[in-house]
């Protein structure tokens, strides 16, 4: 029996890779009165659903998809959330 899983993939730049977008956002915050915010990193969120036999299979397919397409492993990491619908 296969089931439907909702997937959230969070793509972020790997630690050590400069994130000019994140630092620009961080620099803008004090001007709006938000002090003390640090470590801003900007990434992307990708949502989709996938059909698979079980959660482990769904997760391993999504991780493969992340590695081969959704991220560029040279500069990006991903975090995967899989939830049974």
């Amino acid at each position: 029996m296969s089931a439907q899983f909702d997937v959230l993939v969070e793509v972020s730049l790997r630690p050590g890779i400069a994130d000019p977008q994140g630092s620009t956002v961080e620099r803008a915050l004090p001007a709006l009165g938000f002090d003390g915010v640090e470590g801003v990193r900007v990434g992307k969120a990708i949502r989709f659903s996938i059909e698979a036999g079980d959660e482990a299979t769904a997760r391993s397919q999504v991780e493969d998809l992340c590695h081969r397409f959704l991220t560029n492993p040279v500069i990006e990491d991903s975090r995967v959330e899989v939830t049974r619908r």
Partner: protein
Amino acid sequence: MSARVGVVLFPGSNCEHDAIEAVEALGGKADIVWHGATSIPGVDAIVLPGGFAHGDYLRPGAIARFSPVMDAVRRFAADGGPVVGICNGFQVLTEAGLLPGALQKNAGLKFLCTTVEVRVDSARSTLTSAASVGDILRIPINHFEGNYTCDPATLAQLRDDECVVLRYVDNPNGSIDDIAGICNKAGNVVGLMPHPERASDPLLGSEDGLVLLRSLLAGGVRR
């Protein structure tokens, strides 16, 4: 016999006619190759031109890498055929794994459209064989994601193998080791951010790109 160059057209490419014009000005022949083609018969060299292939969606080059034509490009490259990726074409080649590393957003988060000086640092590639190490060329850049990066081991390998073909004299985008262009170990696959086809006539403000395109037409490493 004049060299025949296949210029790959992805949906969103926009420098294909500039490349054709420059190749023909040097006496070569150039044909557009649609990205859906599964073979590229009868060409001596392949150019992946600048632009925004597949809208640069997800990441520049990420989707172009799966275009049917890329299998043909991969086979041509594996056979020693000269392949040059200019700007977006460079991004496609890194995403396709034909060149190492990746191109990230410019350090200053600015889209750069200006003419820069680059130095030829290796003449062993198909794009630099007619140039001399130390030559300074004035060539336009036009990119948002041209900040080359790779891990330290890859960088050391690139240096050891003399695969860094062009370096910026005054680094405009934060590229590691001032890298503007690299080649694979065999020297027949080259990627560069500057646009040599836009420096191919005095009317364009520089013809320093011609020496690079002439190298490509001469067959570079292959013949």
